[in-house]
């Protein structure tokens, strides 16, 4: 199982304020699918609007990133630099 966490603002917009979820997934595609099953359309929002941190390591939100057992998967608004 992986723990999925959203920021307060994101949760307010898309998950009725619920910030934390437990999902079964081996990679990020599995996480996105699990969240989309819970909230139809959420997977697309996550894909397009967030950066993801898996156990603290930042990635662009995609499908291929592995999600180790017990991982914390944190979705935050994407960061852009200069």
């Amino acid at each position: 199982m992986a723990k999925v966490v959203f920021t307060t603002g994101f949760a307010r917009r898309y998950t009725s304020g619920v910030r934390e979820f437990e999902v079964e997934a081996k990679n990020l595609r599995g996480v996105l699918k699990a969240m989309d099953d819970l909230y139809p359309g959420l997977g697309e929002h996550l894909e397009e609007e967030t950066t993801v941190a898996i156990n603290g390591e930042y990635h662009e939100t995609g499908y291929f990133q592995p999600v180790p057992p017990g991982a914390e998967v944190f979705f935050i608004p994407r960061i852009e630099g200069g």
């Binding site: 307060t8 603002g9 307010r12 156990n55 390591e57 930042y58 935050i76 994407r78 630099g81 200069g82």
Partner: protein, 757 residues
Amino acid sequence: MNDSTIVTDSVKRFKWVGTRPIRPDGVPKVTGRALYGADLKLPGMLYGKILRSPHAHARIKSIDISAAEALPGVKSVMTANDLPQQKFDYIGPERVAVNFWHVTRNIMAREKALYEGHAIAAVAAISASIADHAASLIKVEYEVLPHVIDVDEAMADDAPLLFEDMITRGIDPAPTKPSNISKRLEFSMGDIEAGFQQADVVIEKAFKTAAVHQAYIEPHACVAKYEADGQCEIWSSSQGHFQMRALTAQIIGAKLGDLRVTPAEIGGGFGGKTVTYLEPIAATLSKKAGAPVRLQMTREDVFRASGPTSGASMWVKIGVKKDGTIVAADGIYKFQAGAFPGSPVMNGCLCAYAPYTIPNQRAVGFDVVSNRPKAAAYRAPGSPISAFAVESVLDMCAKAIGMDPLDLRHKNACRIGTPTLAGPKHAHAGYAETLEALMNHPAYKVKLGPNQGRGVASGYWFNGGGESSATLQVNADGTVLVATGSPDIGGSRASMAIMAAETLGIDYSQVRAIVADTGSIGYTHVTGGSRVTFATGTAVVNASKTVVQEMRKRAALIWGVEEDAVIWDDGVAKPANAGDNKTLSFREIAAKAAATGGPITASHGVNAGGQAPGFASQFCDVEVDPETGRVTILRFVAAQDVGRAIHPAYVEGQIQGGVVQGIGWALNEEYIYNAKGLLDNPGFLDYRCPVASDLPMIDAVMVEVPNPTHPYGAKGVGEVGICPPMAAIANAIAMATGKRMTELPMSPPRLLAALSD
């Protein structure tokens, strides 16, 4: 290795990584032969000119272009009506949400001119002088409106509104009254009130920073050639030609596949050339004229109409125990977005306390529009602004409890596993090591004289990863071409060549690195966010590994053995069997490419993650002249966690460059608006950037805590160095004078006024 490099793992040693070979683009640049955006001239090319608003805020009642169109030599004239309408919709992630309804209005004004210099119309003519004359013939009827420049004034209830229907996002329930506040956001963790109750000392202070320009030497410039079949070629100076292609396609309503963008050499960007101003206009003028069009900004255009970073108004409160433990931090960060929403306030909030272990934190941010050019990214966008406030208050806390400011920071330094306000826990170390580098630096023990002070500050930046592409071609003589899609701003061609040479096991001189156009390489995100050495470097290394695999395969074919029977050792194919001494060099295998299967090439695309953040800690010594208010920087030591320096000279250059820009931000740089909302200092004479004679030698201390997610341990180095200088200098001034400066720039008049209080 440079004396100022501190290595935390002494095991790995490389042949090319960590060396300082001459940059491949050096000779054309120092001999003046490098081609920048304004250097290209095509047969039949026209000269473009943009008419800009003389008012800070005005309703556009009418635009009459007939006289301009009638002028002999004029080939096309355009207004915003020549660009397609865009839907009002925020697309993409919150920090970088793009609303093309806004973007197209920034490219060219529609209903209103929202800042002095806002583009109103444009012409293309057979000469620059005719274009200038034609622009002057365009008649614009304005209704001048009240304007607002300052962020606090823009937030006032009675402020003139830039958008009469703008409702603040991020407030629940949504306000019913429009305002200039585009967005409110809040991040928190722990219990902020309970945290402050644990504190022995609580200090709070308000701060202001000025909007400052990236001040790249090269003004924006491009050439567009739009053909009758709808295909368009663009040559432009930018931090990302794929980004220019995407933005231009959206603004002019073209397909990505019909646009081909070639990157010119770039004379500095620092974030400011990740957005488009000219390309859609040049393409539209070219389409209407049926000829290529060149557009370029003057220096005045750059200041009036291209993005500075935000100015800000902030309030920060920090609570510490007597033993130095920080127990709570709170802050309100109000950032100018310029004329359209989209300041880096979210970054400012998320970076504010990121270097520290603080159990109770809150950051509230506001994105505020006013009658200034739209803010654009500038080195670690947002982070230096909040760092000025937070690091100033930390200095006051250290003084209040009688603790050395480095010790205070070190005691609270984040470690792997420390929670951040963004949410995720820190996954990488590096901050404490930068502090230790300063603690051990001999200059930190130098005694100070009268009117002198020493200031310390730190900074944090996320760094970037993301999509990059690289292609390697092995030539018959054993030389290798490395093509990437990353415009080279900070010496990346040399770094790419180093990583390729290291991976292939060949000499650096045998590798030529180039930047390929959008038609010749896979998608690559901008050169920004300190991402290129990490992300594009990963693509280059992976493509190089594919070439090595192919070289082994070709060697096996030459020897008539299985591929597994061949190993690759320092650029040479050898039999895996230790008793067999025959070899094939890289060059020998390359020469047999045709016989062994044809050209040896490899391409790799990545979406790189795990980039590791940047940490910087700096101290400086200053001397304040009590009669003039002038601040002289006596010495500056900048320690930065660089992961591993691929080309140390360019890493040092990035650190030193960030510090220099920070010194300018701290002491002199600001936009000076007059009562009409017009910019009074749109040039380098009056907008005072530091020059060499203002600066001491900046001692760049590279702390190498390798990043395990990069093949050679690299971390982004281009941005975080600009975060600490403003607070470091303010803290030094406070020590020298006893006066706490809370507003940037800390220019002589402002400092004199503080000293006379």
